[in-house]
């Protein structure tokens, strides 16, 4: 009995039991549904074993949207609890678990897969490649992320969720103060998906450096590809720090080491430093691809080339360097003294300069343009003022002496949501709307899309601007309740109302997808937005080989040149195309990772060792496997091209 005791929820509530039942029912439903419609084979052949970057991108996209709703449910519960003073909706323990999972889910399992989705979908098409450099590794990246996310998400029904905050500071996250297995889930689930992220970093860098279309110089890459390139360079430098920190945290919790404990020579401050040496660059890993998407969208809907291409690239390079030099600003109040704080205060403020350059370049891109107010453009226009507010409050926080008053308050919470929501989330929704027709063959409804935009923007302002004020009034973050005497009540109610509008906004996205799937016309051609870069030069939907003939490139807007200046994009005869074979190994190996991770969480050593051996067997199999891929013959290409409406 004692063996099973550890899987029980340490702090149960009716809501958690209801979730258990719901999870069980949905799982049974999926299994029954797949069996009834005889879709197991289809699922395995077309999705679980695929190495196609477009399908992997779509799976990232679906996972990100799913996780957005999970993290959003957490958010709504928090705002509801704080809407009134002394509310009893959640108790302290549940509130702590919820804000912890909200943070982890939104950053690691929502924002990251969202940017990976766009990198996968867009980068190979933008550089005129047929796939990423290592397609099977790409599948492994995705499945590691996916199983990491699943492992994290079962925590609240098996053993208990982590409750030490998404930053998981030691010693609070150590065994003395976090006795449930929750923090084990945190350490191991993030580790598993983090390995996937690192692999994506290597994969994308190689792809961008080695697989560009003939003639495309580095300084002729579309801006999204540039942003993806730099973000992936940051990934490769930053994620190993997280990997090491998580290993140290795991051994502290499972094997009694003392890296971050307060006795026996351990140092709790070390975790905070490691975490933010990864954590701050992570912010730029998320925001740079978002900047890339905005650059594409603003340029397309202003019908103009991107203003200041070179300074756009330069500013991203500078941001990537500075992002590693600012981590201490997350704990100015740790007592490192005036000199250290002064240095990090200045480096932090310095980041606002290249960021400001980008803002001005977007404004100048619209200047003398011909601006069309489509849904993706609305997000990009809304992004500019809202993100500037998020940015300037960041400069305020960077003033370290004043930060002693902002730190750990709702002011900080308002700031980073103000940077991440208009910065990253709006970009992802803009990108989703913009690229939807390319991958699904129909447009999302503009009218519903516009109401989504207004709901989210107004909801965002109502939800987060009041926090600036309550923060300055002394409301600390992460408090599950407050007394009426504090006077925080009315503004928190406004926040809750705003969060409700945002929730409604996110629901309209799902409604939009359903509505457009039913009603939107399918004959949209390959370039519905009158866009400028290569991803729009191929068919819609994109054939498996992307381009029948490799595009010839001599500017950053080769496709625009082909439309306006008579540049000939595709030359020569069709040739046989070499493509990679599907493989089940990434899926199976990641599933074994899940088993290993779960065993580690509960310190079940026998299954853990067996699973680890399984992982090495998978790697060994791959090493000795001879797989030369397959060829698509010329006749087949001709047929596909004809079917898709004319040769490209």
């Amino acid at each position: 009995m004692e063996f099973f005791q550890r899987f029980a929820i340490p702090h149960p509530s009716p809501a958690i039991y209801a979730s258990m039942v719901a999870i069980a029912l949905v799982s049974i439903g999926i299994v029954v549904g797949l069996t009834y419609f005889k879709k197991w084979g289809y699922l395995w052949r077309e999705w679980l074993t695929t190495v196609d970057h477009k399908k992997i991108g779509i799976m990232y996209l679906l996972s990100a949207i799913l996780m957005l709703f999970r993290g959003g449910a957490d958010a709504i519960m928090m705002r509801a609890q704080l809407a009134t003073p002394e509310a009893k909706l959640l108790d302290a323990q549940h509130y702590n678990e919820i804000f912890t999972t909200h943070g982890v889910v939104m950053i690691i399992f929502m924002a990251m897969p969202f940017i990976f989705a766009f990198m996968n979908l867009i980068v190979p098409l933008q550089i005129g490649a047929r796939d990423v450099a290592f397609p099977r590794l790409n599948a492994l990246s995705f499945w590691l992320f996916f199983f990491g996310a699943m492992l994290f998400n079962i925590s609240f029904v098996v053993g208990g969720s982590p409750d030490a905050g998404w930053t998981s500071y030691f010693p609070l996250a150590g065994n003395d103060f976090s006795t449930s297995v929750g923090t084990n889930y945190y350490m191991i689930a993030i580790q598993i998906s983090g390995i996937g992220s690192l692999m994506t970093g290597i994969n994308m860098i190689t792809t961008i450096l080695k697989m560009r279309a003939p003639g495309m110089k580095l300084m002729q890459m579309p801006m999204f590809t540039w942003s993806a390139f730099i973000a992936n360079v940051i990934i490769v430098f930053a994620f190993p720090v997280l990997t090491v920190a998580l290993i140290m945290g795991t051994t502290d919790r499972l094997f009694g080491t003392n890296f971050f404990t307060t006795g026996n020579g351990g140092m709790d401050m070390l975790w905070a430093n490691f975490f933010w040496v990864w954590g701050h660059p992570e912010v730029y890993i998320l925001i740079l691809p978002a900047f890339g998407l905005y650059s594409e969208i603003i340029s397309t809907f202003s019908s103009r080339n991107l203003y200041g291409y070179k300074s756009m690239v330069a500013s991203m390079v500078i941001i990537s360097l500075l992002s590693f030099l600012v981590w201490t600003h997350h704990f100015f109040t740790m007592g490192q003294g005036a000199l250290t704080n002064s240095i990090f205060s200045i480096t932090t403020m310095a980041i606002s300069v290249p960021t400001g350059v980008k803002i001005f370049n977007w404004l100048f891109t619209m200047w003398k343009g011909k601006i069309r107010f489509t849904v993706p453009m609305l997000y990009s226009i809304g992004f500019i003022p809202l993100f500037v507010i998020g940015g300037v409050t960041g400069v305020m926080l960077a003033m370290s002496a004043a930060d002693y008053q902002y730190h750990n308050t709702m002011f900080l919470v308002a700031h980073f949501h103000n940077a991440i929501i208009p910065g990253v989330v709006f970009a992802m929704l803009a990108g989703l709307t913009y690229y939807w027709p390319k991958f699904f063959g129909f447009m999302l409804n503009e009218k519903i899309g516009k109401s989504t935009f207004w709901l989210l923007s107004i909801g965002f302002v109502l939800a987060f601007f009041p926090m600036y004020i309550t923060g300055l009034d002394g409301q600390a973050r992460r408090m599950y309740t407050y007394s009426e005497a504090t006077g925080f009540g009315p503004l928190n109610m406004v926040s809750f109302f705003g969060a409700g509008l945002m929730a409604l906004g996110f629901v309209t996205i799902v409604w939009n997808i359903y509505y457009s799937f039913k009603n939107s016309p399918r004959d949209i051609g390959s370039d519905p937005w009158d866009a400028r870069s290569l991803e729009w030069a191929t068919h819609t939907p994109v054939p498996v080989y992307n381009f029948a003939r490799m595009p010839q490139v001599n500017s950053s807007e080769a496709f625009w040149d082909s439309k306006k200046k008579g540049h000939q994009l595709f030359k020569g005869e069709y040739q046989e195309i070499h493509m990679p074979n599907n493989s089940g190994v990434p899926f199976v190996m990641s599933a074994i990772f899940f088993v290993a991770g779960f065993s580690f969480v509960f310190a079940l050593w026998v299954p853990a060792v067996i699973a680890l051996i399984g992982i090495f067997i998978c790697m060994g199999l791959r090493s000795f496997e001879l797989d030369h891929g397959y060829h698509i013959h010329v006749e087949e290409i001709e047929e596909t091209e004809k079917k898709l409406g004319g040769a490209k």
């Binding site: 307060t262 103009r304 003398k368 226009i381 003033m399 002693y404 008053q405 601007f465 600390a476």
Partner: protein
């Protein structure tokens, strides 16, 4: 677009209405450190508001002037690569703003990290503020007094807080007297504060420390030096001495009301002062000794 701006305007009005009744704690300073921080905050708010307004003005102008519905159908936007001078201005002006703010920031850092301005000639009162789940223990070594969850300080005198924790990282914060600083288990941090006049203030742990975090607060009363001395005397007459056993029970996780003792726990459970930034010059040997004592007390917990 109009709808958006009118909404924003009404929102701002609402916020002003909701908060107009009382000044915000951080912007209502009662001591020199908080005053310096509040003035930095207001300065940066003004400059930042200026930036936001300029960007919004450019944005609205561009959107108005170059919206497709207003332009002739055959208008072809020009191809513009960029202009070195325009971009130099876009870099130059932010650099100047950042330079100004950096100057202010560095200056303020040194001000908030030293004895409050105007109080340099006075001997500071040293108070050890240590946190345990989820309480604050205030030890007055000079006065030989210890309190739990409330703090009496003389106004018009610099206070030097020595902060540390018996567990998770916490953050000692009295918004109206000055910004916060961490209290940690393996080192002592120093926070300089002062209250300009007698008054009552709220204080709390601002750093998440687990289940009882929300209620981890304390009350601060600043009084005249005479009243403070009187209080110290009164405590010595009425309060019981703190014992090691009793202190151990106080450290148990939970919440306590306000308590008063004579003596301090520092006598039998000294602060972990083997820190890396200690201003006192202590020899290597000394550090090692303190470390060992700390370890012993650590073992005693388990």
């Amino acid at each position: 677009m109009k709808r958006k701006w009118s909404l924003l305007a009404s929102l701002t009005a609402l916020v002003v209405f909701l908060t107009g009744c009382e000044p915000l704690l951080v912007l209502d300073p009662k001591g020199p450190q908080a005053a310096r921080q509040a003035s930095d905050i207001m300065l940066s708010i003004y400059i930042m508001a200026g930036i936001v307004i300029v960007v919004m003005a450019i944005l609205v102008y561009v959107l108005w002037k170059y919206r497709a519905s207003k332009l002739p159908a055959d208008y072809e936007p020009p191809h513009v690569e960029g202009n070195i001078w325009v971009e130099a201005i876009c870099v130059g002006i932010p650099v100047i703003i950042v330079a100004v703010l950096s100057f202010v920031s560095v200056k303020s850092n040194y001000i908030v990290e030293s004895t409050p301005q105007g109080y340099e000639d006075q001997e500071p009162l040293v108070v050890y503020a240590s946190s345990s789940d989820w309480k604050w223990h205030f030890s007055y070594p000079e006065q030989g007094i210890e309190t739990v969850n409330y703090l009496y300080i003389p106004a018009d005198r610099p206070i030097e807080f020595k902060l540390y924790s018996f567990g998770s990282i916490t953050s000692f914060w009295i918004p109206q007297l000055g910004g916060q600083k961490y209290a940690m288990a393996d080192m002592v941090t120093t926070l300089h504060l002062a209250a300009d006049a007698p008054g009552e203030f709220v204080g709390r742990n601002a750093n998440f420390s687990g289940k009882g975090f929300a209620e981890n607060t304390f009350n601060v009363t600043a009084m005249t030096q005479a009243d403070f001395d009187e209080w110290v005397e009164e405590v010595h007459e009425t309060a019981d001495p703190i014992t090691e056993d009793e202190f151990e029970t106080l450290l148990e996780p939970g919440h306590l009301g306000q308590m008063t003792f004579t003596g301090t726990h520092l006598d039998f459970s000294p602060a972990p002062e083997h820190n890396h930034h200690s201003e006192e010059d202590s020899s290597e040997h000394d550090q090692h000794e303190t470390h060992e004592t700390h370890e012993e007390t650590d073992h005693a917990h388990h």
